[in-house]
């Protein structure tokens, strides 16, 4: 029964994808029709070559890969450290700091964007990837909060046992908490990969030379003043989402296993 629901839902989710694929193989002159045509009259496979010809797409992919990998690693390292402090250590100010961290998520970034830009400008870091990467090596409330939730679900006796064995706090973080939090770390990695890969406003504001641009920017260049090249946009969007999908497909088996295989051995 549940299998049936899954298949039906999955089928529903694949329809839009199929439609994107069909759109990506049409020509600009025939891309829109009423009622919509599912099968292109001629298959314009060259659209996929065109996106690499019209936009330095390969370059953009490489730039995005660099930024994304740095972001993911930085996020995992820094957020797990900070989350450990919030979840497993007793220190004065912990509760207050945690609430302040939550509060920083509540102000819409649209009003802090320009002051932030000015900060990085004074550090002479405009048109480098530092403003996109460095903040991700310094915690970040969304994913720190997530890891805190997971860390707080691990029984405390494990820490106490390790302490009696003489482990330092870092030892507990490294040998107790991290190994038990693989699914959570995987979730963080997946989120960060997706978020960095698709980030538009960061690269938009901080990168000024074209040879540093990322895919999210490249996807916008199919919007002309009076019309959008939908066929190329769809082809490029499909190509751009492929790495994220592949990462998810292969990464999940390491981390998200069936319920039967896992368990906390106390």
């Amino acid at each position: 029964m549940s299998h049936l629901v899954l298949v039906a839902g999955g089928f529903f989710l694949m329809i839009p994808l199929a439609w994107m694929l069909s759109t990506s193989l049409k020509s600009l002159g025939t891309v829109m029709s009423l009622p919509p045509e599912w099968i292109p009259r001629t298959f314009h496979w060259e659209n996929y070559a065109d996106i690499f010809r019209l936009v330095p797409f390969g370059k953009y992919v490489w730039n995005t890969v660099v930024i994304t990998l740095l972001d993911v690693v930085g996020k995992i390292v820094s957020c797990s450290l900070v989350a450990f402090a919030f979840a497993r250590l007793r220190w004065r100010g912990r509760e207050a700091m945690f609430l302040i961290m939550l509060a920083t998520m509540m102000l819409p970034p649209q009003v802090t964007m320009i002051p932030q830009f000015v900060v990085f400008k004074h550090m002479e870091l405009i048109d480098t990837i530092v403003p996109l990467v460095l903040p991700n090596w310094l915690g970040g409330p969304f994913l720190t909060f997530l890891l805190r939730q997971f860390f707080m679900s691990i029984p405390l006796d494990l820490d106490d046992a390790a302490r009696i064995d003489g482990a330092s706090n870092f030892g507990i973080y490294w040998r107790v908490v991290l190994p038990l939090s693989k699914p959570a770390l995987a979730a963080v990695a997946i989120f960060m990969f997706n978020g960095s890969w698709n980030d538009f406003f960061g690269p938009l504001i901080y990168l000024h030379s074209r040879d540093k641009y990322t895919i999210a920017l490249g996807l916008r260049s199919f919007q002309d003043q009076n019309y959008t090249e939908w066929h190329l946009l769809m082809a490029a969007s499909l190509v751009a989402m492929l790495p994220v999908v592949l990462i998810f497909f292969f990464a999940q088996k390491y981390f998200i296993q069936g319920i039967v295989f896992t368990g906390v051995k106390g």
Binding site: P16, L89, R90, P108, T112, L156, L233
Partner: protein, 302 residues
């Protein structure tokens, strides 16, 4: 158990700040300054290009008493959040439970359900325009098979907000991943224990699964509130606030003030009003968490 003045406790005190230092550093370097700046701008007339002029509470006065768009924006934003957040949480949890079983092709299904969250930007706009298209769209042509005339969705002021809520469900993939990760933390011994007791699957869910994933439910609730009340990009690319300001969400309106109307001071006031709104809701949820969120490893003493 351990006396508060022991060297071990003092070390813990020190290590707490040490472990939290990456965030503290980032907060001091890149976050707190811009936040203070925007709080200052709220009391000024500021076009982002010339010096801000101090105007005291004038921007607050305008926002709270003299601008009907603020009321409209807060209304549609609240409706959006109140409906979409519970739906996202429920749907995400249901799908995650379905995906947490052992069936053939599980890896494939999980990817399929995560797929919508991967797609972003302008392509999504075109996709949804097609799904919601009044005559030949995916939904209305499906309804037409049963002789139902579907609404105008995004182009209809009475349905545009509903359409945006529908779109938000498309992105539950992220929530699903979190639930799946949370479900991994449920020790299988617990299930074996209830199985020995002869309890059914329903009881196992209510007494084991649900309590064990309350930490991630709490997370999804708080983050859901924050992101739903700050909804922006979808509105910008799909409806641009229309029709008839039916989807004029508060962040869209403050963005217009900041980047189109050169009124950063007024935009900052709107941002801080939203900040206060979210803060109050979050604190309520946070205070309530003591009653319903179960942490296996909560630090009780301080």
């Amino acid at each position: 158990m351990i006396p508060p003045s022991s060297p071990m406790r003092r070390r813990e005190e020190r290590d707490g700040w040490l472990f939290a230092s990456p965030w503290l550093l980032g907060f001091l370097l890149f976050t707190v300054g811009p936040m203070i700046a925007s709080a200052f701008f709220a009391f000024t007339e500021y076009d982002v290009l010339t010096q801000p002029k101090w105007v005291g509470w004038a921007n607050f006065d305008k926002a709270l008493t003299d601008d009907p768009k603020v009321g409209q924006a807060l209304k549609v934003t609240s409706i959006y959040a109140v409906v979409s957040v519970p739906l996202q949480i429920l749907l995400g949890l249901c799908v995650a439970l379905l995906l947490n079983t052992r069936i053939r092709g599980l890896q494939f299904y999980r990817t399929v359900y995560y797929l919508p969250s991967v797609l972003s930007g302008v392509a999504v706009a075109l996709l949804w325009r097609w799904i919601y298209a009044p005559n030949f769209g995916l939904i209305n042509s499906f309804l037409a098979r049963f002789d139902i005339v579907g609404p105008g969705w995004l182009g209809d002021k009475d349905w545009a907000l509903t359409s945006m809520i529908g779109m938000s469900l498309w992105h539950v993939g992220g929530g699903i991943v979190i639930y799946l990760a949370g479900l991994q933390g449920v020790p299988s011994e617990l299930y074996e224990a209830v199985r020995v007791d002869g309890a059914g699957r329903g009881a196992a869910f209510w007494h084991i699964t649900l309590p064990m994933i309350t930490p991630v439910l709490f997370y999804n609730l708080v983050i859901g509130i924050i992101t739903a009340l700050q909804i922006f990009t979808q509105a910008l690319i799909m409806t641009n606030g229309g029709p008839h300001e039916a989807t004029l969400f508060i962040v869209l309106y403050l963005y217009r003030n900041a980047f189109q109307f050169f009124k950063m001071g007024y935009a900052s006031v709107l941002a801080w009003i939203l900040f206060g709104y979210i803060l109050v809701l979050t604190l309520l949820v946070y205070r309530s968490s003591g009653f319903w969120v179960f942490y296996a490893g909560e630090l009780k003493s301080r």
